[in-house]
Amino acid sequence: MKATFLRLPTTLIAMLALAACGSSGGDSARQYGANPYLPAPHQYLLPPMSVPEAVGWKARERPSVSAGLKVEALASGFEHPRTLYALPNGDILVVESNSPGTEAFRPKDFIAGKIKARAGAAEKGGNRITLLREAGGDGKPALRTIFIDHLYSPYGIVLVGDTLYVANTDAILAFKYVPGMTQITEPGVKLTDLPAGPIDHHWTKSMTASADGSKLYVGVGSNSNITENGIDVEAGRAAIYEVDRVTGAKRIYATGTRNPTGLAFEPKTQQLFAVVNERDEIGPDLVPDYLTSIREGGFYGWPYSYWGDHVDVRVHPQRPDLVAQATKPDYALSSHVAPLSLLFTEGQHLSPDFTGGAFISEHGSWDRSPLNGYQVIFLSFVDGRPVGKPIPVVTGFLGADNETVRGRPVGLALDGNGALLVADDVGNTVWRVSATRPGS
């Protein structure tokens, strides 16, 4: 009895001390590039949540942009705008969407859901695509129509020939598209099913097409943070699929990508790249989200390991055989920034700083202090590989106090005039970033 009583306070103090340390993240710049700083993982008592309150944009407020650029609202009043897509005729599609809703399994899920809702994550999505037609040059769109309605948590979108593919959370739909169309009322034809419910934890289905248009590539996120909903529900998840555009036949192209939220082909090498959201709750500086080339048959670690062979002890049973095969990603973007959109450019866009590389939107952290992300960055590419440090392009989504969030960047697109469009799913706005000097 006496031994037990002595042990109790000791255990309590030890565990509380464990919970208290390592709660604040270090300099994000240590985690950019091919060899990020990786501290030892922590186990928490309180889930490490740090969520700014969503307040939206007041009149005349707008994000900040780097020198030589200006920003204005192209359109607002959307219902949770996520993906943007530029059609060949210059029309812009805005995919308005959010999670179909997940069940709370554990006491924790109720509480975590309430806290994330503070940052606007629980807002209802429009389940539709809005079309914007810009007037020549700057200014408000000349035309705004509901292009496709009654979708089911859509996210990925790509036009191949005269067919527009939309990735709902549970299936790819094909729509006949004629240039200049402002509305599609005919229901889409299902090309193939995608892994969805009953949990559908990471619901977004990012999508792109190969240059020849024969294949579609679809990112499917994991059904949990780190297998806490069981390993069975992860079958076919945390993977990138290749879908034959004609037959709809699909196969798993790469695995171990926890939540591949943006897919795009690098224009010079035609190499598939993905931005991937890595795991949470083992530290403010773990695990860095990343940008990586996706090799056929590649395994990128989730759930068993991260950044190559760093084992995650939360997964049981462990799989040393798979950890040994895990590929290190190409480029770390630092931890919990939540990259959602990947947009390659060819040649110079907006300014000489942005020549040949990729814009990446960082939706922003919910479990890191200080907050990380909440910006659009540019990353240079040389010979088809990311190099150097990220350049912040669009910032100021957080309030000056860093306690409130005015907007969160999601979808990216380049419009017909070379301006960068940014969808903001808290401000429910599409921002247009252009050069202050035309032609520069």
Partner: protein
Amino acid sequence: MSAQHPSSPVSSDPRQYEHMRGPTAHRTGLVLIHRDFILAGAVLLIAAFATDCFYYTTALWQWSNFSAWLITAGLIVTLVAVILLIIDFVMRRASRLNIGSFILVIAAALLSLLNAFVHSRDAWTSVVPQGILLSALSTILLLIAGARGWSLARSRATGDHS
């Protein structure tokens, strides 16, 4: 209550609670209302140790999910029991705190509160090793409290534990 004369509190006469007595109440005096809730809370918290053991051997996530809910429910019922314990004292049904059992149950509750946070982690480390260790410790403490009769106070009528 306010109409009562201060010198004759409502709980002073054991006969007033005749209808609330269990089968053994006649022999031992008043049944304290908190006791069954201590027992019920302990059953839930001890069951969490069982489901933690099943998770440890099977690694099936649903067992750890059960544990998280059992610990949460056990803590809520134990909190109700403590409120009822206070009521037992306020109503002058209980005479004196049973210090040993009280410390055992409070220690088990504090460990279980800590365990609720441990169980809020994701996957294996929500249970192994700290979660299942805390479940085992609180199970031992609660079983000792059970051997002592579950009641955290002595009944005013006879001085017995129940």
